[in-house]
Amino acid sequence: MTDARHAVRKTGRHQAKANRQLLYKRVESMKVVKIDKKKWDQGLAALKGVYRIFSPVKMKDAFEFKALEENENPDLGGLNTRLSAKGLIYPQTEAMFTYTLDESREDHHIMSPVETDYSPRAVIGLRPCDADAFLLVQRNFDTPQYKDPYWIDAYEATTIVGLACENPCSTCFCTSAGSGPFNETGLDVLMVETKDGYILKSVTPKGESLIAASGWNDEISPEEAQKQIEPLKTAAEQKISSVVETDQLKNKDAMTIYNAPFWDDVAFACINCGTCTFVCPTCWCFDIQDETHKTEGVRMRNWDSCMFPLFTLHGSGHNPRGEKVQRVRQRFMHKLKYYVDKYNDGIQCVGCGRCVRACPVNIDIRKVCSLMNQPENATCAAQS
């Protein structure tokens, strides 16, 4: 990487971080502990007494987050989970209300709140990109005007222990997207694997409480921790080979990018399967449906996707985004331009690379982002 590109990347990242940290309370007096691998199980058992623990576990053919059973251990050997951590705060399907149609009941046809377990929970072993994604979507669910109680209650109940990435993969571009393999923003505790165990560094009061509850008390000084972590962090950042330029997105007129000539090429292979939106940690769209069995029912919300024609279909039959190319453009415009314009804090993407890995037809957000960043060069770039 040339020095100039490196400088662009660093400035972009620091600007994004500076804004994002306004949303997020850190502690100054951080506490750092070392854990010997032998003491891991003991601390984990202690934490299970206080929190419901969610961690990556190797399923059939991929790592996924799940609530750990009593004798179950996190499986921290995987690079990243197939689905992001968003479902831990914002489940793929979630009950909003219940109702009865039984007219002999006094509250018939009136929505009642559902009881959801918002007791303390901890996510152990998610990657820093997924934690950063919570801060990006927080802007959508927790607004000055409206508060989404389901998202907010779940997020507030959760303590996030992020595992630093020492071996990012070829599709990772977190350092271009305002995050990084050792990024602490969005975490409560940063967890770094060392030769003989882990270093746990608390970043927020929630993180301090978790370390206190674990009984892991082999404290080391922040300076000593920094000395051990810094070389690992530098090494990890250098392993990230993907650099995506986002610096021009803000300045370009939205309609110029919208009307750019490359969208047909970008969308050509897309089969509108929606996989990109489901694996994405920052895609937040949902549908609301009533599910009734006999006289009892539940109002549910389910993840939805702007890739589907039904997403925008009017009752009249008119569809404002009836063509595939319009839907593909919508997804990229939303993440890489509309969000940028609306919140002035970088792109709605943390660079986890899941959509790149999961896309069945190899559509690559990194390439689309480069096209959008310089739409005037697009005609030739689209052919490359």
């Binding site: 009136i110 508060k147 029912g297």
Partner: protein, 282 residues
């Protein structure tokens, strides 16, 4: 934390079949809890999610005016699952409404003595009815300059709120031009012709204090806009209300997104000047 997805329980108090094809019915709702009516304080141009328990929610413009107390009214076209079920419901049935949602017509600005030209077509006359009733309220009328209304439908039997239209037509403090595409009724005493043609003949001359509010089917808007352009209406003086598929109504679920705006939260009312800078995804 108040749950913005929780509808206020209401009872259907009255159902009026508005049009000869029976596809449009006006529902008058009364809040089960009196205090919910106060929380539902609204402005003309806003909408609400009608929640039919067990079927789902639909976003519908509020047809009653804030000056009418004790109830809220919505006129609903029968098109999909929820609206069809609603059309079969009876007086006394319990359901929910959630809102008010969205911005509204820009009353703060219009109430500074502006002239208002309302142009409506077909069943997109509901929030316009709310606006007319609001402006004609004796305490509000002095705040506006001249008021014109141009409203058309396919045939006399397809006009909404026919009794009210006739009363407004007879008043001197509002200029109402009713039109139909065609009719074989020899007693028809109003205009015959499409809305753009009537607009060309009847709309007052453009000036910076005159604002046109347009609601209607896309084809009406398509042919009315050139007429207003020709008459010199600036794009900041043309106000439109959009519709898009919606679920949450509060700018969270993503369905009605157009550019960086949500039709539900940043709209549904936009000026043409604003729309010119947005993708035409509505």
């Amino acid at each position: 934390m108040q749950n913005p997805y929780l509808p206020y329980p209401v009872r259907i108090d009255e159902i009026i079949t508005e049009t000869e094809d029976k596809n449009l019915k006006t529902f008058k709702f009364v809040f089960l809890n009196k205090e919910d009516e106060e929380k539902f304080a609204y402005r003309s141009g806003q909408f609400a999610e009608l929640s039919v328990t067990g079927k789902g929610e639909i976003p519908i413009g509020i047809a009653s005016s804030p000056t009418e107390k004790g109830f809220v009214k919505f006129t609903v076209n029968k098109v999909g699952l929820v609206s069809t079920f609603l059309h079969n419901m009876k007086v006394g049935d319990i359901m929910g409404i959630r809102g008010p949602l969205g911005n509204s017509y820009p009353w703060e600005m219009l109430e500074k003595g502006k002239n208002v030209v309302i142009i409506g077509g077909g069943f997109a006359f509901t929030t316009l009815r709310s606006s007319i009733v609001y402006m004609l309220d004796p305490t509000n009328r002095p705040k506006f300059g001249d008021i014109h209304v141009i409203y058309g439908a396919r045939s006399p039997g397809m006009l909404l709120y026919r009794d009210e239209l006739a009363k407004w037509e007879a008043r001197s403090d509002i200029n109402v031009h009713i039109t139909v595409d065609g009719t074989d009724d020899p007693g028809w005493k109003y205009n015959v012709g499409f809305v753009p043609a009537i607009t060309e003949k009847k709309a007052p001359p453009a000036d910076e204090n005159t604002y046109a509010i347009i609601c209607g089917p896309p084809v009406m808007i398509k042919f009315t806009q050139p007429v207003l352009d020709k008459q010199g209406y600036g794009h900041h003086n043309i106000i439109m209300s959009l519709e898009n598929r919606m679920k949450c109504g509060i700018g969270i679920c993503g369905h009605c997104n157009v550019g960086k705006e949500f039709v539900c939260k940043d709209g549904p009312v936009f000026t043409l000047a604003q729309l010119n800078r947005m993708p035409r995804e509505y």
